[in-house]
Symmetry: C2
Subunit: 230 residues, 2 copies
DNA sequence: TCTTTTATGTACCTTGGGGTTAATTTGTCA
DNA sequence: TGACAAATTAACCCCAAGGTACATAAAAGA
């Protein structure tokens, strides 16, 4: 409909952009990195503006103030991570394989989502004040729990899983080591050395963790990794 | 006026205080709370000064600048936690009981040291930059590893522990859930509810965690908690 | 084609807060 | 007892950074 840019080009239509959505995305993208790197108070609006292809004025135009921008960033990373979780399909796997898969996927997801980890750390420093305000985030979190509950129910139904197994507790446990592995890498390495963070050790660690969780869930499970030397 | 305080006050040398160590401690005490609450960039020197019984000038006199104060605070909380670890004596316990005790103590220590947790979170946001600069912290961290290594060695010597058991990995594992339990409480509760944080659930959780770790370490271990209902 | 709304650029304002200057009091030691 | 160092006070500086005013170009109506 709008004059095809192909013809003649003599019109020189757009000296400007006028692409609100792209501008919004651009700002959010840069802001995500800055807030993840420096925290809420540490991030600098001027610096964010400088790195975008637009101006500081537009940040305030679209997001109101610094906190509004932070909140949008937070919701963005949550949505991204949960979308990845939704893509994971374990309904077709038998319970033990499904649980193993969920644990491994969670571990890997944390390793490959450093922005998310850092923003959650920052949000915890702020006592989840902005997460609580969010209207979209609570809805996002059902998915992973639903999957775990489904797997647990199936595992119990066929007598493979112990009766005391609880999906929420399993998620807590899986999250704990997956999160800590990334979030505290800097201080742990500084205090105790980097031995655990080599690729080989990380892979071995994950195997042991999976075996450990499965042993606590699956009746008569035989862990393979426990006898391997370090 | 202040000097008299009862006893004749014939000495009454001090109309002032002139007690550098007390002033230092006072500043550090308040600063610890402020940095733990708001982070490095979020903390406010004027606010810290206001809460102390001294002035802002003294903060700069004793600690140079904001980063110097932060560094001192960081070293303080590390020293406090490690001192608590030193107090723990498991040399007299047989290996399994000793390991159980170490895990439980670590878990409890994290719960009761929220300032430490928050400052470590903050330090990780800063990529452990200040921890690395510290000259005292690296020395502090041997103690807990030494204890674990001793227990592991004893356990292996009597054929109770698996050969693949590694003290550093055990410490990592124990720290991971102990730390996460406190550090991510705010976001986890917001996302998934507070069910896991009741006193009863926390106690049950710890028992399950201990059993889980022990099962992965001790040959033929029989976990008691796995069959209990949630 | 006139008006209204949306989107954008430039320049500016304000203040919070990290850091400093300079003088004053207390203690110590010849 | 006087000089010198250590500890402390109060007032001040100043600029980085969050936020705003105002003008205006582009789209959308009408």
């Amino acid at each position: 409909m709008d004059a095809s840019e192909g013809d003649a080009g003599h019109k020189r239509k757009t000296s400007w952009k006028k692409d609100p959505e792209a501008v919004r995305r651009d700002i959010l993208h840069i802001a995500t990195q800055e807030f993840a790197a420096h925290g809420l108070s540490g991030a600098n609006i001027n610096e964010i503006a400088r790195q975008t292809s637009t101006s500081k004025r537009m940040i305030y135009y679209y997001f109101g103030d610094k906190e509004g921008l932070y909140q949008a960033v937070l919701e963005g990373v949550y949505a991204t991570l949960r979308a990845r979780e939704d893509d994971l399909d374990v309904a077709g796997l038998e319970p033990v394989a499904a649980l193993r898969r969920l644990i491994e996927a969670t571990f890997e997801a944390h390793v490959t989502a450093p922005h998310f980890i850092r923003l959650v750390m920052i949000e915890n420093i702020h006592n989840a004040e902005y997460l609580r305000k969010s209207e979209i985030v609570p809805r996002l979190n059902r998915s992973i729990i639903d999957k775990l509950e489904d797997v647990c129910a199936r595992g119990k139904a066929v007598g493979l899983f112990r009766a005391g197994v609880d999906a929420l507790e399993l998620h807590w446990l899986t999250s704990s080591f997956s999160f800590y592995n990334v979030s505290n890498r800097a201080t742990f390495s500084t205090s105790f050395g980097t031995a655990l963070y080599s690729e080989a050790r990380q892979a071995a660690l994950l195997e042991r963790l999976v075996d450990m969780v499965l042993a606590s869930v699956v009746i008569g499970y035989e862990p393979q990794s426990w006898n391997a030397p370090v």
